[in-house]
Amino acid sequence: MPLRLKPKARDLARTFAATAAIAGLVATAACGSRAGEETAATESCVDTSGDTIKVGSLNSLSGTMAISETTVRDAIALAVKEINAAGGVQGKEVEIVAEDGASEPTVFAEKAEKLIREDCVAAVFGGWTSASRKAMLPVFEDNDSLLYYPVQYEGLEASENIFYTGATTNQQIIPALDYLAETGVKSIYLVGSDYVFPRTANAIINAYAEAHGIEVLGEDYVTLGSTEFSTIINQVKSADADAVFNTLNGDSNVAFFREYANVGLTAEDMPVMSVSIAEEEVGGIGVENIEGQLAAWNYYQTVDSPANTTFVEAFKAEYGADRVTSDPMEAAYNSVYLWAATVEKAGSFAVEDVQANADGVSFDSPEGTVVIDGDNHHVTKTARIGEISADGLLYTVWESDGPIEPDPFLEGYDWAADLAVTE
């Protein structure tokens, strides 16, 4: 026998529902500010009263990007540990709140908001893919907080709320092209994964090539993660360029270099310049398939400097002798030190103070001295071309004359005038 409400009770229930619906409508109608009006500034909840100060470490610990991003997490943790051992920042111990970005931009946005609003961190370190950074950017701007982003990227961005400690294009792509031009390369072939970084990089490369008399013989993209390269390699081979510029990402490099070697192409007759292959990736590709090929970065484990020796030793001591250090790890390590130095200079953890005092802050990093540019929030970096050697490490074969000033919108290059507009 189904339970039946008496008519009266039924009416009650109906009224109940109607009331709730109306309440909802009323709440909906009570709207906030409209476009053009100022939104009341969100109050920062960062607690600076205690002995510790919290910072966020937001990296993908699961999913496809976990391979790369866990190494960055380790580098951040190492820097924080060292800083704490040396007395902390402003006398406070730095405490890391770690979050998993799960290789998904939406998760990055969600976790960034959690770090800022729930954990009340003073700054967040992390992010890898451009998609994750683009997803986090509005969160940091809306909540007026700080992100330190440690990976080389396609440039064309400068947010008040982000510090970019990896290379922008004029510190990586352009030096790589300069190097190729210096060594007499007259024609190149472009191969990349189908997403933003390779497409932007190749747009720059095309403009550069046109201005410098280099012929671009082909430009091919594969879907991310693709392992099918026979068509492209066939085309590369018959094009017979002087060099290949490779912006492939992740596992695709494995298939690419194997196929490349198997059709008889070598570093001697057609070198490949890669911008996404660091020490970590060489092992998976197999040294025998990639030995002698070139890479463009700002840092290699083999960089010869006292700061780097200390860094590599400390890292291996912390995480094991078999671990290697790479460019994004170094940039992440730097980012923590740069933040600490800025806070010390400003004498405050407040976002506006850090922003106001960032210009000129420097750190004697493993790659050399890096200095923050207060206008675009990037840092000066030394460009290095490395050659992959039989031991799986990269050795510098060319180095820029000192650190290069960051120029994310390529305003200093006439041939790049058509590429992008300043924001």
Binding site: I67, D220, T223, T231, Q235, N262, E280, G284, G286, V287
Partner: protein, 294 residues
């Protein structure tokens, strides 16, 4: 001209890779209508088998030859276990099997990640298979020739087993008409397990071979899985012949699309072709005639 010959070969080569990945599926899918989403992870297990064997044996050539049969066993045993523990219980719920095996795949991926680490590992190509052979003016990598040969051997072996061995005849009887085979005294249970062993074993073999051209990482299997399923769907249930034709056709299609547009559009193009194709032949290229309804 060179490019055209190259593309022709690429089609065949891509097709044989697809075929290797799909051959085992076409057996298990055809047999029970079971969609085994963990098939990709069985391929991945084959890849790691090749890696482990190479670590132990050292010599790349010898280890490849040893890894092929071991890969078959590893894949096969995993398939047997999966069949006995889960699939057998879900025989009347094929869609549920799909989801359950997806869960199994997730777990296997994570196991690989925890055991071997997330970064790709390197399986060296044997000296004898490095470099290429010049055929009609194009350089054909030896690794791809090897994979084509292996695909031919695998298809031939499966065909021979199905045709001429008593076990194969039983499998064909069950695929043809399960109930009739039961009444004829064939235990479909044993046959299911056997088919699953062979089908999953073939995934293992495919994995070993695919280390020659691709990467070996926890997500390796995923990249082959959807394409392999499309091959089986287009080829028709339980038909080795259909799988062969469909694999080569899709491979060629992909190569042609890729030459005249981008690799991304090629994927989309292949999908559209398959939907249109199913409009014309809803049961795939080749179908078995049974008297059953629907």
């Amino acid at each position: 001209m060179d490019l055209l010959v190259g593309q022709l070969f690429t089609g065949l080569s891509t097709g044989s890779i697809l075929l290797l990945a799909a051959l085992g599926l076409s057996l298990t899918f055809g047999q029970m209508g079971v969609i085994n989403m963990a098939h990709g992870e069985f391929i991945m297990a084959g890849c790691y088998t090749a890696y482990v064997v190479q670590q132990v044996v050292g010599d790349a050539g010898a280890s490849l030859l040893i890894a092929l049969p071991i890969g078959f066993l590893v894949g096969g045993v995993m398939g047997l276990v999966l069949e006995a523990l889960l699939i057998r219980r879900l025989y009347h719920r094929p869609l549920d099997t799909l989801l359950v095996t997806f869960g199994v795949g997730l777990i296997l991926q994570q196991v690989a990640r925890d055991v071997f680490g997330a970064p790709a590992v390197n399986v060296s190509v044997p000296e004898a298979l490095r470099g290429g052979v010049d055929l009609l003016g194009v350089t054909v990598p030896k690794t791809r020739l090897f994979i084509m040969a292996l695909a031919i051997v695998a298809v031939t072996a499966v065909t021979l087993v199905l045709r001429f061995t008593p076990a194969g005849r039983r499998i064909r009887a069950v695929v043809g008409n399960r109930d009739l085979a039961e009444t004829a005294g064939i235990s479909s249970r044993t046959v299911d397990a056997g088919t699953f062993f062979i089908g999953s074993g073939l995934a293992g073999v495919a994995g070993v071979a695919l280390t020659l051209i691709g990467s070996t990482s926890p997500t390796t299997g995923q990249s082959y899985l959807v394409d392999a399923f499309l091959v089986v769907v287009a080829g028709g249930l339980g038909r080795i012949k259909g799988a062969v034709v469909a694999a080569v056709a899709l491979g060629a299609l992909q190569a042609v699309f890729e030459t005249y547009s981008t690799a991304s559009l090629a994927k989309v193009g292949v999908f559209i072709v398959i939907v249109v194709f199913l409009q014309l032949r809803p049961q795939g290229l080749f179908t078995l005639r049974t008297r059953s309804l629907a």
